[in-house]
């Protein structure tokens, strides 16, 4: 029950994350910026609007936003939030989580191709490619964590990441954090991999894929993107803030603080980094996969 409430809380909180990132970016640019709650306003406005579909499209375009939204919400069932316990958990639930993300990607790509435009096709091609490289990177970090904690499920692993584990394996865990942070940035199409503010030719990945969506469909997709960012951020927050709290209110407060702080960090990175050239991105991704394996090697040699 407690975990269900934590999850609903995260579902409500999700749209604030992009808002904070944008606020930080506006601060760096010396602007006042959009309100932090802007995405909530956008979603409510879009939900009142009607959707337009191109006559090129098929049932895939229509079903994709629903599948993406439902799969992302179902993903949240597997992810531990404030209480370090997820609503549903079983052995090796990581795999289901990774493949739910792949399901989301599949529908986004198919819907993008469905519009029959070169813009969206390009976005789809890049999304597919970076997704293929991000998946092994995520697994390499996961392997290191499973080895460190000896547990086989999201809840157990994050319960196993305690302050004493950080003292035992400081360097490997830090490497896993780096690895997953890079995966977060690429999976959510942030700078330095993609520029979420534009859908111009040079940067188009996620934004350009949903170019032909409108109304309620767009609202679902925007919300799902924010939720996906929050899910990845939650994994990192659970790693970085290993303390357990007896009171759930305290746990929720610390967790939320961690999430918001991470959003600020992402905002700072977006403001101070330039976007990478596309050719460089695979190297960074393969490098991040290597970080997880190095973490594993360090722990193995210390054994």
């Amino acid at each position: 029950m407690k975990n269900m409430i934590f999850m609903l809380f995260v579902l409500l909180l999700a749209p604030i994350m992009p808002g904070i990132i944008n606020k930080v970016k506006a601060f760096f640019a010396g602007k006042k910026g959009l309100p932090v709650m802007q995405l909530y306003f956008d979603i409510f406005r879009l939900l009142r609007k009607k959707s337009n579909y191109s006559k090129t499209t098929t049932w895939l375009t229509r079903i994709a936003p629903h599948s993406v939204f439902a799969a992302t919400v179902f993903l949240c069932l597997l992810i531990p939030f404030a209480g370090k316990e997820s609503v549903v958990s079983f052995n090796a639930d990581f795999i289901l989580a990774v493949y739910l993300l792949a399901l989301v990607r599949f529908f986004l790509i198919m819907a993008a191709i469905d519009a029959g435009s070169s813009f969206e096709g390009m976005g789809a091609s890049r999304e597919a490619f970076y997704g293929a490289l991000a998946e092994p990177a995520f697994f390499s970090g996961l392997l290191a964590l499973i080895f460190a904690t000896g547990n086989l499920g999201f809840s157990d692993v994050f319960n196993g990441v305690t302050p004493s584990l950080w003292l035992q394996y400081p360097a490997p865990l830090a490497l896993v954090v780096c690895c997953w942070f890079i995966v977060l940035l690429v999976e959510n199409s942030r700078i330095p991999f993609d520029d979420p503010n534009t859908h111009l030719e040079l940067t188009m990945i996620h934004e350009v894929m949903i170019l032909d969506y409108s109304g309620k469909d767009l609202a679902m997709l925007e919300y799902s993107a924010a939720l996906k960012l929050t899910v990845f951020a939650s994994l990192l927050v659970n790693l970085l803030l290993p303390w357990q709290f007896a009171s759930s209110l305290m746990a929720a407060a610390v967790f939320t603080f961690g999430l918001l702080l991470l959003a600020v960090v992402i905002g700072v990175i977006e403001s101070t980094f330039a976007r990478l050239r596309l050719i460089q991105i695979p190297k960074v991704l393969l490098g991040s996969g290597a970080l997880g394996i190095i973490a594993l090697v360090i722990m193995l040699s210390g054994k």
Binding site: T58, H66, A70, L103, R105, G121, S140, I146, G150, D212
Partner: protein, 659 residues
Amino acid sequence: MDLFIYAIVIIVTGGFLSSLSGRNAILPSVFAIGSNLFGAILVFILVFRHFAADQSFAGNYDLFLLSGPVTFRIDSLSAFFMIPCAILAPIGALFGRGYLSHSKERTNNHWFFYNLLVASMLSLFVAGNAILFLISWEFMTVAAFMLTLHDDRLSSSKNAAWLFFAASHLSTGFLFLFFAFLASKSGSFDFNSFSYTGLGSRSVLILFLLSLTGFGTKAGFFPFHVWLPEAHPAAPSHVSALMSGVMIKTGIYGLVRFWVPTSSVSEMIGWIFLVGGLISGLFAIINALACDEIKKVLAYSSVENAGIIFMALGAGMLAREWQMPTVSAFAFIGALLHVLNHAIFKGLLFMGAGSLLFACDTGKLDRLGGLMKRIPVAGTCFVIASMAISALPPFNGFISEFLIFSAGLRSIVSASQSVAFMSVILLCGLALIGGLVLICFTRIAGLVFLGETRSREVPEVVALPAGMKWSMIILALFCLGAALASPWIVSLSAESLLSRLSLSEQASELDSISRLLLKVNLFSLSLLVTVMIFYLIRKKVFSGGDRSDLPTWDCGFAKPDNRMQYSASSFSRPALELFSGVKAQEVKFSEIKAYYPVKERLKVEQGDGAMKYIISPPIRWLDRLLLPLRALQHGRLHSYIAYLAITLLALLIWKVGLS
């Protein structure tokens, strides 16, 4: 056991009847469908009786032509490997009836060889001795060769059939050596009498390499896969489905039967399977990304799936040798379920590709597009199969990959260094392959069925016959059904299968595996139902005022042209550039250095690096070496008679001299 003989007799008789039924338009295919369905039902009863009642069947039959008895024996492995064949054979026949309906040629002989292929594969799986095994193996090869030649006016089809024939016989040659060695050691051709005890580990390894070359050629093990992407696309689509779905598995079956149970070199074999499977998988999927012909993509993807199965088998063997029975059980069950699942979704994919060839007469990715609106059943089924092969829940591909991934994750918990090495190869390799598969199948499903057509003029599209549609719908339902049935399949068959692979796992452990699968299924099924309900509510209640008569917005670009769409080659280009070392594509063009425009050409050639750099050089070398021997063959009859006389004389002298 009699049931099995009946099944074979029915299928072969069905083949004879359709070949004898003359010019009749309907009879041949009716005989084929009926006999395959009937035979398949008998096989299913047999398989079910075997697993449910744990009965083993064996029978010895004396065939007057052979010196020894012919032994049929059904154990868990043969029973399990027969399932894909029994599923695909009748559905393939149903599809083939529609598929061949527009060809003007008579189909009698086609159906004869089709039934022969099915019967020989079935009897191969139950062969209890080497003689029956090799006879079935040869029948299978010849039948598949004849079926590949169906379009024998196309030179590409003839070349592909030849390549297939040569590769198959090379593999049979190695198998002859392998069986002859084992038989000479044990004094009998019976599989039960074969054993590697008493052999040094070096000679066991040599035996393994012999059979790896023999079976691996059939199974598409790198670098012996080179014939596969040529031959599978050349056959009619329902035959490609059978070849990719079942015939590849005969090679895997051979290796599983003879090498996965313990031997003195199990650890070595485990590593070879694991690393070789990874190389096969990666190499094949990268090549699949470079192909521009849909059936070729599917053939490469079969090699990739065989690679995944090998990786899982290798991990299972290593885990068994390292005393991690649970990890091993996960990997083995995952591998075996993948054998079944791959047959289902790859059969469906080949039938979808066949529908394209039927409807538009081309499989070139860069010319197709927008077919979902023209042939919706084929399109929807193809998308479902693409999801299944990309291991997306809730379809069957996910179940087997889930088990294989779990094996990797479980092994890391109690890791020493070599275990960790195995897990990293298994998990990161599978994850990378999985990601590339997603690119590959969004590419072909998306660019063929979605968007608009990419050729200049809108192609004529022929409506699909009902038989083709229904066979695809049935297989699409199987994609979901096999996933839902997986806990039940595991609890029914896993124990006897694992004991056959020398792994005696606790029944409670297997129970927990099937409970885990049940949970996963429940989760992904509720996701499916949620999406459906959610979509229906949206459609019924919240869709007022939605418009679907507009052009694609495309950033307000005013005059979109179909040929401006993203194409198949552009879609996979980023990935291909990263893996350009694999040499899946050769791009020939010289940069323009002059200041003014000049004429320039760009030529992109798709070639298999393994063929070019590994297989061809030794064959060319052998060719050169043997060239002088052609002087012996000159067509002069009297010299040939002289050869005979010399040979006889030599034999006589040898015999006399010996005594």
